[in-house]
């Protein structure tokens, strides 16, 4: 039974008849501007009833036109026509809108439109409107309604040019371009068919000169009677991706025209229509079913491979089961292994990832062994699978040094990489990766073995020559390194990196000689380093090191010269930066800074100003970048000079960089000072909260001042809120969290801020215990005002150990806390350094043991 449709009330609740006229007029204008056509119609109608003003009538006419357009777009043509007729009824002098005329023609009622051109009032029709109506009639004639022409006078342009326009259409469709050009030539510029001419000209050019075609189409207005054809031609010129998006919103006829223009065969159009019926972003299930339906056309192999890919993206923990469930192909043994490897993230489990790729390689090796004439590409596939574990997990990354444990996963990854070279010995990158890995562990024998294999294939390869030089330097074979450097420079004369590495190596060797009290040999090393220095700055640094060595040797002349140079620089305003340069040069040779300062008669350094601070930090950073850490003496010198540093004169970026540099130099006091100064300007800024916390607890948080921990937890939340993932991750690394033998968890460090009264009211811990049983742990912690981070950690423990275990643990903690100081701070565990860096690989034997074992937290 149909229900009586509830009549929609206009916005404003039908109160407008009671409204004052100015208010109603404002509402009408606002509704019109907001394209709320029905509200605008109601408001303007009311206004016109009150007073027949021309501007209100125009407003009503505009609202009618908008509403009619809305209905036309929805395909409600008759309803739209009724609205146009209401608009026309507003006054006999009101011109018929082209859309109105178009609708009349489209609904098979062209007589009224023709009458406008031929009737007694035709002369009163504005020129623009007359042209628009003519174009509507012209489009209709080309659409096949030639009977219209009989109602038009013989001299009417729509009738006079119809034959040429129709001939042009026929010639275009038949591919007769000569006839088309001839027909177009017969249509004058001011013809009602002129938009049609532009479109046909564009279509003639749309393959060879798309930009020109586009420009011709732009001459046709979007509200032209020929606009649908313009839209189809425009769609046909779009890039593929944009076309697929735009076509989804266009009508079927328009899309079909565009598809044909693009060269789409009927089968493609049909398949696209099928795809368009799926969601905008089809789900893997919908896609795989479509692939299966069209398997014959798409090809079995392609459908099979793409189905496996879709299984990886399906929302399922078991891709094979999903494939079975959706009617996909049944994977063979290798495909199953690949599916498993594809779905394991090395971030979640590096061991499983490494193992799964190795399993795939083993399966292919079996194929290789059982095949009488194995495909050479099979060997390449085996090699790539053996390399995949390392490539995906970056196991032998440049910062990784060999563990030395054959069961550790870096050793296994290296073993698999070496094995891959027996299947595919032409991969230079693998040789270099292994050489780098072995060099970092100073396993030079292994590095040399791989280098020899690689150089037998690529004897003049630059990267391999550089690796050979590095190995020679590692082994202290300076002559060999120099020979290799000359070879490299002969090929690449501007290779400054090679020179830099040689200088660094000779300086390091000079330091060794100083340590052995062989300053004569150290001088020779410095002289050689000077010879290899590729730029003035390096030469100056080597010269300074040579002078310092002379001072250390108590060479009176050299000491006097250097002292005079330094004094001159100090007079010119040199400050801490210059002294740091001296100190780092001394550190480079392992010379005593105190002794040098005494001989050079240097007092404690003074930080001059902002520029001196910035220059000092830059020098320190440059040294750290070259793996040169300041010695204890140098660090003490800096700690003495930096307390008066003008941190507030630095910009935010400079302060961030300064904090990082000071962190790397382990200058904790200065770093804390810099971060504290920054926090005065940018209160609560997560990155500076992190620096202040880390600098305050360089050996790890000691669980004494819980306020600092909460401040950092709040900084973590702010970093998350700001989308600053990097800082958030850095804070998370520093925050002590629950873990196996790691830092102690920050379990309920009550009383929480602002929860003092609640805690006082429940002075007896048993009450809290009862509450936990009744309300649950989370609720009680919320009542006590625990920070969200603490609640989250408790929830984590609850998930890991179960509700009962978490409950008992909290009860024990509360008991312990009550004995000491009810709701006071918990006993402070031993300080632990914050957990940092890449987690070490776990042993293979441990992997299985961990699988089902709940994580036991070391809470006490």
């Amino acid at each position: 039974m149909s229900k009586k449709q509830k009549r929609r009330k206009p916005r404003g609740g039908g109160q407008q008849h009671e409204q004052a006229t100015p208010a109603l007029e404002r509402r009408a204008r606002e509704a019109l501007a907001a394209e709320h056509w029905r509200d605008a119609i109601a408001a303007y109608k009311d206004l016109v009833k009150r007073e027949d003003r021309a501007d209100w009538r125009q407003g009503l006419a505009d609202a009618y036109a908008g509403r009619a357009g809305e209905l036309t777009a929805k395909g409600m043509l008759k309803e739209a026509l009724a609205i146009w007729e209401n608009r026309a009824a507003l006054g006999p002098k009101r011109a018929m809108a082209p859309e109105h005329a178009a609708l009349l023609i489209r609904l098979g009622r062209p007589a009224a439109v023709v009458d406008l051109l031929t009737g007694g009032t035709a002369d009163e029709l504005p020129k623009a409107q007359r042209e628009a109506i003519r174009a509507q009639l012209a489009a209709r004639v080309l659409g096949g309604d030639v009977g219209l022409l009989e109602h038009l006078p013989v001299d009417e342009p729509v009738r006079r040019h119809a034959q040429a326009a129709t001939a042009a259409l026929a010639a275009y469709c038949e591919g007769d371009d000569a006839a088309l050009q001839a027909a177009l030539a017969d249509i004058p510029f001011r013809s009602p068919y002129r938009d049609w001419v532009q479109i046909l000209k564009a279509l003639l050019r749309h393959v060879q000169a798309p930009a020109e075609a586009q420009s011709l189409l732009q001459r046709v207005d979007d509200d032209s009677a020929f606009a649908p054809m313009k839209r189809a031609a425009t769609l046909s010129l779009m890039p593929e991706t944009a076309f697929l998006d735009a076509a989804a919103d266009a009508g079927p006829t328009l899309v079909r025209v565009a598809c044909v223009l693009r060269g789409w065969p009927p089968a493609r159009i049909a398949l696209w229509e099928e795809l368009a019926r799926l969601e905008n972003d089809p789900s893997p299930t919908a896609l795989i079913r479509l692939l299966q339906r069209h398997r014959q056309v798409l090809g079995d192999d392609w459908v099979r491979r793409k189905s496996l890919s879709l299984a990886v993206h399906a929302d399922s923990d078991d891709p094979e089961h999903w494939l079975y469930h959706v009617g996909g192909p049944e994977p063979d043994e290798l495909e199953s292994a690949l599916l498993e490897a594809w779905t394991i993230s090395p971030r979640d489990d590096a061991w499983d990832a490494l193992d799964s790729w190795h399993r795939c390689a083993e399966l292919l090796e079996q194929r290789w062994r059982t095949s009488k004439a194995p495909d050479p590409e099979l060997a390449l596939h085996i090699a790539l699978l053996l390399r995949r574990g390392d490539a995906e997990g970056d196991i032998l990354a440049p910062q990784v040094t060999p563990s030395g444990d054959p069961d550790d996963f870096d050793s296994i990854a290296a073993e698999q990489l070496e094995a891959s070279l027996s299947w595919d010995p032409d991969d230079r990158a693998t040789y270099l990766r292994l050489i780098g890995y072995y060099r970092r562990g100073r396993w030079l024998k292994n590095a040399r073995r791989l280098l020899e294999q690689a150089q037998s294939r690529w004897p003049r390869d630059m990267a391999l020559l550089e690796a050979a030089m590095d190995i020679a330097l590692d082994a202290g074979s300076f002559k060999k390194a120099a020979t290799l450097a000359r070879q490299i420079l002969a090929i690449d004369p501007i290779n400054s990196a090679v020179r830099g590495r040689l200088v660094k190596a000779h300086l390091a060797h000079a330091r060794k000689q100083v340590a052995k009290a062989r300053t004569d040999l150290a001088r020779k090393e410095l002289a050689t380093a000077h010879g290899w220095a590729g730029d003035e700055h390096t030469r100056e640094r080597v010269a300074l090191a040579t002078s310092l060595l002379a001072v250390s040797d108590a060479d009176a002349a050299d000491t006097r010269t250097l002292r005079e140079q330094i004094q001159a620089q100090l007079k010119q305003g040199a400050g801490l930066a210059m002294r740091l340069e001296l100190a780092m040069a001394a550190d480079g040779l392992g010379l005593s800074l105190g002794t040098l300062n005494r001989r050079l008669q240097l007092k404690k350094p003074t930080l001059r100003d902002r520029d001196d601070l910035v220059a000092s930090l830059a020098r320190l950073r440059a040294a750290l970048d070259e793996d040169q850490e300041p010695s204890t003496e140098t660090a003490q010198m800096l700690e003495g000079a930096l307390p008066k540093a003008p941190w507030s004169a630095l910009s935010r970026t400079e302060l961030e960089t300064a904090c990082d540099t000071l962190k790397r130099s382990r200058l904790h006091k200065a770093r804390q000072q810099a971060a504290t100064t920054a926090l005065k300007r940018w209160p609560g800024e997560p990155i500076f909260e992190l620096h202040r916390f880390e600098a305050k607890y360089p050996r790890g948080f000691d669980f004494r001042a819980m306020k600092d921990l909460w401040t950092l937890e709040q900084a973590l939340e702010r970093a998350h809120d700001n989308g600053d993932t990097r800082t958030a991750m850095r804070i998370q690394e520093v925050l002590p969290g629950p873990g196996f033998g790691g830092a102690p968890p920050s379990l309920p460090p009550m009383p929480f801020p602002g929860a003092g009264n609640a805690a006082d009211d429940m002075a007896v811990p048993e009450h809290v215990i009862d509450l936990m049983r009744i309300l649950g742990i989370k609720k009680v912690l919320e009542i006590l005002g625990a920070p969200p981070e603490v609640i989250r950690q408790v929830r984590d423990i609850e998930r890991q150990l179960g509700e009962d275990a978490a409950h008992d643990m909290l009860v024990d903690l509360l008991d312990q806390g009550a004995d000491l100081d009810p709701f006071g701070n918990w006993p402070a565990p031993d300080p632990e350094p914050p957990q940092r860096g890449r987690p070490r690989g776990r042993r293979r034997d441990d992997a299985d043991d961990d699988d089902d074992m709940p994580e036991q937290l070391d809470l006490f």
Partner: protein, 97 residues
């Protein structure tokens, strides 16, 4: 991301020279100023298939799901641009969008 074999119009057993030829041909027909997105797809496809090692890696490790454009290209590749039938254009001009 598109299936590189379909972007370049290559058979699965294409060798280095076939990949090179297809790439040059594709770039000639679709320079960046004409369709930047398609040019970028062509370039990416070429990088994915350039050497035998690249093609083997694609075969073993690529898990990109097929896009609707892949399905269309595989089932019925785009042919030479055509001209619609007169009836289709007439229908469009009559307002049958």
């Amino acid at each position: 991301m598109r299936d590189p074999y379909l972007v370049l119009g290559l058979d699965p057993d294409a060798d280095d020279s076939a990949v090179e030829r297809a790439y040059l041909e594709a770039v000639k027909h679709c320079p960046p100023e004409r369709d930047a997105a398609r040019f970028s797809a062509i370039r990416t496809a070429y990088e994915q298939l350039r050497t035998v090692r690249d093609r083997a890696a694609f075969a073993l490790f690529d898990t990109t799901p097929p896009t609707p454009a892949d399905v269309l290209d595989k089932a019925a590749p785009v042919g030479a641009p055509g001209r619609p039938e007169r009836a289709l254009i007439e229908a469009l001009l009559r307002g049958e969008s």
